[in-house]
């Protein structure tokens, strides 16, 4: 099945793709904290907008695609905007929060588009408590697409048998997915053990 893979630009040879994931993540957190503390003057925001435009171009990400991805947060912003209008709050205050939010999400997307997720998860692998986190992340990233495929398959089977899925059918469908996930986890465990994974605490 065709999936819209999130890290598809991470295989390009650009500037950000060559940096290590842990370094990029630290810089990202640092930048997000800076955005949090930025004063409400437009002059402070302009350099960061300029930097992101340069980074997008040297990392070989199509600008149109990037802008389309950022649009995803607008429904959330709309809710906060409506609540802010309802509360008679300062509109300028909202605009600066909006700018901070768009800047943050842009840098987050720049990170996720240029980083191979498997490499990012490996940051945790050798830490003291990180092994479980690494495993959970790896399972999450790998099995989400598999479960989604399974969901689509069951839904298609339901429709082809003349059942137009309504709310109740969707519930049975997701219950079914969990039962299958439970059974799959047992098969995965057997496969992991047979490939040399040690059960250790």
């Amino acid at each position: 099945m065709k999936h819209h893979f999130i890290d598809r630009f991470s295989y390009e040879k650009g500037f950000l793709q060559n940096l290590s994931p842990s370094f990029k993540f630290l810089i990202l957190i640092f930048l997000l904290i800076i955005f949090l503390l930025l004063p409400k003057k437009i002059i402070f925001y302009l350099p960061f907008i300029l930097i992101i435009l340069i980074l997008i171009s040297i990392s070989k990400i199509p600008l149109k695609y990037f802008l389309k991805r950022i649009l995803i947060i607008f429904p959330f912003l709309l809710i906060i905007f409506l609540l802010s209008v309802l509360s008679n709050k300062n509109f300028q205050n909202f605009l600066y929060s909006l700018l901070k939010s768009i800047l943050s999400i842009s840098y987050i997307f720049l990170f996720s588009l240029t980083t191979k997720m498997e490499e990012f998860f490996k940051i945790f692998e050798n830490k003291k408590y990180g092994k479980l986190i690494f495993l959970i992340f790896s399972f999450l990233y790998r099995y989400f697409f598999i479960l989604y495929d399974e969901f689509e398959r069951i839904k298609r089977a339901m429709i082809s048998k003349g059942k137009n899925p309504n709310f109740k059918e969707y519930t049975i469908l997701s219950g079914n997915i969990f039962v299958r996930s439970y059974e799959r986890s047992e098969r995965v465990l057997r496969a992991m053990i047979s490939k040399g994974w040690k059960i250790e605490n």
Binding site: L28, I29, L32, F35, L36, L37, R69, I72, F76, L77, I79, I80, L82, L83, S84, L86, S87, K89, N93, S97, L98, K100, S101, S104, I105, I108, F111, S112, Y129, L132, I133, L135, I136, F137, S138, F139, L140, R142, Y143, F144, Y148, F151, P165, N166, F167, Y170, T171, I172, S174, G175, N176, I177, F178, V179, Y182, S185, E186, L189, I199, N201
Partner: protein
């Protein structure tokens, strides 16, 4: 609702992140102490299941759709701290790859969704179930509903102490807009639990951590 980055101020971000990370570390220690290693794949795949439930839209009457949280359901199956732990990572990954929520607001979002839905509501349910075992399904419905409504109340609270909205004027629209999602979540959890009891009851007998 997931709060995006940029809308919470420094004091709220630091307070909520401190609380959530302490809860996360406690959950991790508890899981590592009690979890049988054979259960690791189930934990991982359940995490993918929460992500899936949050990613798909459920059709509701009158042509609209809502997405569910599934966190209370997972806490009923795997236990409160596992549920917090798993949903924290789904929040983190959905912030990074889908843009739902934010990275610095993960403390607030995981408090609203994972702590309220996973830990707080689980213990409320366990307490009430002992007193009123006869209305078990109604309790599951009501507490699932409560988890969504409480989440929306805390979301309004965090946004208001950051000075973005006024609590008294926003609370009513916020709660009303989450009512449908709460009812749908409640019916979903009850029907899914009934489905497990009928099809695979051993899922409900997994050790809860």
């Amino acid at each position: 609702m997931h709060i995006p980055d940029g809308f919470l101020d420094f004091k709220v971000v630091s307070g909520t992140n401190l609380f959530s990370f302490l809860t996360l570390i406690y959950s991790l220690k508890r899981i590592l102490k009690k979890l049988k290693p054979e259960r690791v794949p189930l934990l991982g795949i359940s995490c993918a299941f929460i992500f899936l439930i949050q990613a798909i839209s459920f059709p509701v009457p009158y042509g609209t759709s809502v997405h569910l949280s599934g966190i209370f359901l997972i806490s009923l199956i795997l236990g409160p701290f596992s549920s917090f732990f798993l949903s924290f990572f789904t929040l983190f990954l959905s912030a990074i790859i889908l843009g739902h929520g934010g990275i610095l607001t993960i403390g607030a979002n995981s408090f609203n969704l994972s702590f309220i839905g996973g830990i707080f509501c689980f213990y409320i349910y366990k307490f009430l179930e002992k007193i009123l075992p006869k209305i078990k399904y109604f309790l599951i419905f009501f507490i699932s509903f409560l988890s969504i409504i409480l989440g929306s109340i805390f979301c309004t609270f965090f946004l208001s102490i950051s000075g973005k909205i006024s609590f008294s004027k926003s609370i009513l629209p916020m709660v009303i807009s989450h009512t449908v999602a709460g009812i749908v979540e409640g019916i979903f959890v009850v029907l899914t639990i009934k489905f497990f009891e009928k099809v695979k009851p051993e899922i409900l007998k997994i050790e809860k951590i």
